[in-house]
């Protein structure tokens, strides 16, 4: 149990640290960092490299935004296996639908009540 959580911490921590190196060394803006991670997640999944990471690190690999790329590609592949060609288009959004909907709805309501403050 403890070992499992240590693995989660390690994988998640390392992924975030890669992001930090990108911020400090390349001056990439946060929006670009997120795009880089999603693309990396998608590409690594395509080559079958991200799945082992998820099996090893669990949430450590799915909670970072690269996990979004993984879920998208894994969803597309699963759906193609199930229904064929149409799965290319429907699989990704289907697999991530709840996350996106949650982000939109929570985002909307949070914005309704909140007020910006001086940092």
């Amino acid at each position: 149990m403890l070992m499992e959580y240590l693995k989660v911490f390690l994988v998640g921590g390392v992924i975030c640290s890669i992001g930090q190196i990108l911020i400090d060394r390349t001056k990439l803006t946060p929006a670009r960092i997120m795009v880089v991670f999603v693309l990396m997640g998608a590409i690594l999944t395509a080559f079958g490299l991200y799945k082992p990471l998820v099996e090893f690190g669990g949430a450590g690999a799915t909670v970072p935004i690269s996990g979004f790329g993984y879920t998208l590609v894994a969803g597309v592949i699963e759906e193609i296996d199930k229904i064929g060609f149409l799965g290319i288009f429907s699989g990704g959004v289907k697999a991530t639908a709840s996350g996106i909907a949650a982000a939109i709805v929570f985002g909307y309501f949070a914005a309704l009540v909140a007020k910006p403050k001086l940092k």
Partner: protein, 338 residues
């Protein structure tokens, strides 16, 4: 009268009769606190949006300037004002209610000197007997215009500067006015200098060469040495930019490090306030000059100041298109005796 390469000598030496400064909460916590006229502790200043707050802040600043100088707005001939927002709306909406002929200026953070230069030239040539120069900036409205949303959790690099929430204004009148006040003797409008810096989080480095160019040209044109001035005050170079400009001048054979001061460095306490390289924005130079340096001039603690406001003339659109940061610095010599 134009002298040298780009300096103008003001024969009629207009006076800066009065100034006013308004600052926000972060600046109130800073070391210059007691020098400012009005302190605002609500970042919204009772308004619904930051843009409106900035406009109201500038309005308060101009209103208070006029009452300090016991003048009516009807007697002001022209007002020269600007800010950082698109289409200078903070100034536009502020002056809408004032009923004074208005010149809207954009020189990024150099706007305060730009407006002072034009106001003093109008007074010098008798086109105006009373002219006002005013500028403002607001941390939150600038942040949303140039950077990320306020509530976005991101890190600032150590070279970054913090936009100052402040407004400053000055009333300029002819020297015949019966009131002891500092005079404007020379003005040196700057050229645009761009050394290819593209990093929007390192404005000090982008603007330092412009300051170097304007200051050395001013000294050459007037035949003065840096020691002539009690202080050479730059607008918002910050800690890094200040070091760079002193270095550049030294390499050129002019040592300004003994008299150099920077408003962006002075306005915050960098150790306590986590403000990285210091303050920036049109309000920075405007409030620090109007509050701190004008007070020093009035009380004869210093007598000769060269005020050099610096501006980075980029926009987010230009930066996203890969452009570097063109910079400008305008200098204005202010002296007690002429």
């Amino acid at each position: 009268m134009k002298i040298g390469k780009q300096t103008i000598k003001l024969e009629n030496t207009p006076k800066i009769i009065e100034t006013c400064s308004v600052v926000g909460p972060r600046e109130t916590e800073g070391p210059l606190n007691i020098y400012f006229d009005i302190h605002i502790d609500d970042i919204f200043y009772g308004e619904k949006t930051f843009e409106k707050a900035e406009s109201k802040m500038l309005k308060t600043c101009v209103d208070n300037l006029l009452s300090k100088a016991s003048t009516d707005k009807e007697h002001i001939d022209y007002i020269f004002a600007g800010d950082l927002l698109n289409q200078c709306i903070a100034s536009g909406y502020c002056i809408r209610d004032l009923n004074i002929p208005f010149f809207g200026l954009y020189g990024a953070c150099s706007t305060f000197c730009e407006s002072m230069i034009l106001a003093s030239l109008f007074v010098n040539s008798n086109y105006a007997s009373k002219a006002v120069a005013a500028t403002s900036s607001h941390f939150c409205s600038a942040e949303r215009q140039f950077r990320m949303p306020l509530e976005h959790g991101n890190q600032k690099t150590p070279t970054a500067q913090v936009t100052v929430t402040a407004a400053g204004s000055a009333l300029i009148m002819s020297k015949d006015t019966n009131k002891k006040a500092p005079h404007i003797t020379y003005v040196t409008p700057g050229k645009i200098i761009d050394m290819g810096i593209t990093d929007m989080t390192n404005m000090g480095a982008a603007m330092a060469p412009a300051v170097f160019d304007t200051v050395t040209t001013h000294l050459q044109d007037t035949g003065r040495s840096p020691d002539y001035y009690d202080a050479i005050v730059t607008g918002d170079l910050g800690i890094l930019g200040s070091e760079i400009v002193c270095d550049l001048c030294k390499d050129y054979g002019v040592d300004i490090s003994k008299v150099h001061k920077d408003c962006g460095v002075l306005i915050f306490d960098k150790d306590k306030q986590d403000t990285h390289c210091g303050g920036s924005g049109c309000g920075c130079c405007a409030s620090v000059f109007s509050g701190y340096f004008f007070e020093l001039l009035k009380t004869n603690k210093i007598n000769k100041v060269l005020l050099v406001a610096t501006g980075a003339l980029m926009s987010t659109v230009a930066t996203q298109q890969g452009e570097s940061i063109p910079s400008i610095a305008h200098a204005i010599a202010i002296e007690n005796e002429v």
